[in-house]
């Protein structure tokens, strides 16, 4: 009987020691505080569009075209290494500009700015609400813009004017699709008017 009591006492001591050890173990380290991102958006989305994306995509679009003047076609395309490099520079600006659009914390427009076409194009706060509602959708469009420049860059690297020209359609389609969702979603509802 004494023998049994001895064993029970030993077991109680063992369990108590274990519990005590558990209680006094150092608490797990708190998760590190989220570091402030090193970047700092300076321009609004509207300014990035007007100053970075739009002027550069115009260079890409305008680099190859045909002007038919009084029936006489005049072909325009980059001819020298320098001209190809210039178009490539602008294609890269648009590609990387798409990353700027995805950066969180960028305001839609400068403070106090309103809609550029009230009643047709949304006000900045309305655009913000749509982006906040679907940040994934916004980023998907920005990424699609970036991807749409890939065929243009490949065409530039091959110095292929026709392929560069054909790449312009998809870039425009992405721009327009995004604008119809986030910038002027209600503009398609214009009253039907017969043009005939």
């Amino acid at each position: 009987m004494d023998h049994l009591r001895h064993h029970v006492a030993a077991a109680v001591v063992l369990v108590a020691t274990s519990l005590l050890a558990g209680c006094t173990a150092p608490a797990p380290a708190p998760p590190p505080a989220a570091a402030e991102p090193p970047y700092h958006p300076v321009a609004s989305i509207r300014e990035v569009m007007n100053s970075v994306i739009d002027p550069s995509v115009d260079v890409v679009w305008n680099s190859v075209k045909t002007v038919i003047d009084h029936g006489r076609p005049i072909e325009h395309a980059p001819a020298t290494d320098q001209e190809w490099a210039e178009v490539r520079r602008h294609a890269l600006i648009v590609s990387e500009g798409a990353n700027l659009l995805m950066m969180p914390g960028r305001p839609v427009a400068p403070p106090g700015a309103g809609s550029l076409a009230p009643g047709i194009e949304l006000a900045p706060e309305e655009v913000r609400a749509l982006i906040d509602q679907s940040p994934g959708g916004w980023n998907q469009f920005a990424r699609a813009l970036q991807d749409s420049l890939q065929p243009a860059l490949a065409a530039i690297d091959k110095k292929d004017p026709q392929a560069l020209f054909e790449s312009g359609d998809e870039i425009d389609a992405i721009c327009e699709s995004c604008h119809q969702v986030f910038w002027y979603p209600n503009a398609g509802a214009a009253a039907p008017v017969s043009a005939r």
Binding site: V67, H70, D169, Y184, S194
Partner: protein, 136 residues
């Protein structure tokens, strides 16, 4: 040297002056759907370019004066899809363009249909235009 800089700036200014505005906007922000136009005249120039084509057309006003129009069209791939070719734009071609006048520029229009002298008709409207039945 100053003269050279001046000439470069002058040339750049001239280029900007003839370059159609290309910033993306909603159709209704640039064109007035309450102002449909039917333009009959001579096509002097066609810019087969992305993201939109541009038809330059001279029409005769009631007072006999010639008015120069700039007419935005869909992009080249859309035009091709609707059967139009660069070769269709011949010297001195007469045509009828139906579309909508610019909101702020009375000599600007967005084309919906182009009818050639031989009767062939093409849809030339860009994305975002009104649902007016032109695309049929």
């Amino acid at each position: 040297m100053k003269m050279k800089i001046f000439l470069v700036l002058l040339a750049a200014g001239a280029l900007c002056a003839v370059q159609p505005a290309q910033a993306h906007h909603a159709f209704a922000a640039e064109y007035d759907v309450t102002k449909p136009v039917t333009l009959t005249g001579i096509v002097t120039k066609m810019e087969w370019a992305n993201p939109h084509g541009w038809i330059y057309m001279d029409t005769k006003e009631p007072d006999g004066k010639v008015k120069h129009w700039m007419i935005e069209t869909a992009g080249p791939s859309q035009l091709v899809r609707h059967g139009l070719k660069k070769a269709d734009f011949t010297d001195g071609m007469s045509a009828v363009v139906k579309g909508y006048q610019g909101t702020n520029d009375p000599s600007l229009a967005n084309g919906r249909t182009l009818v050639m002298k031989d009767g062939r008709s093409f849809y030339i409207g860009s994305v975002g235009g009104p649902n007016d039945g032109a695309e049929r």
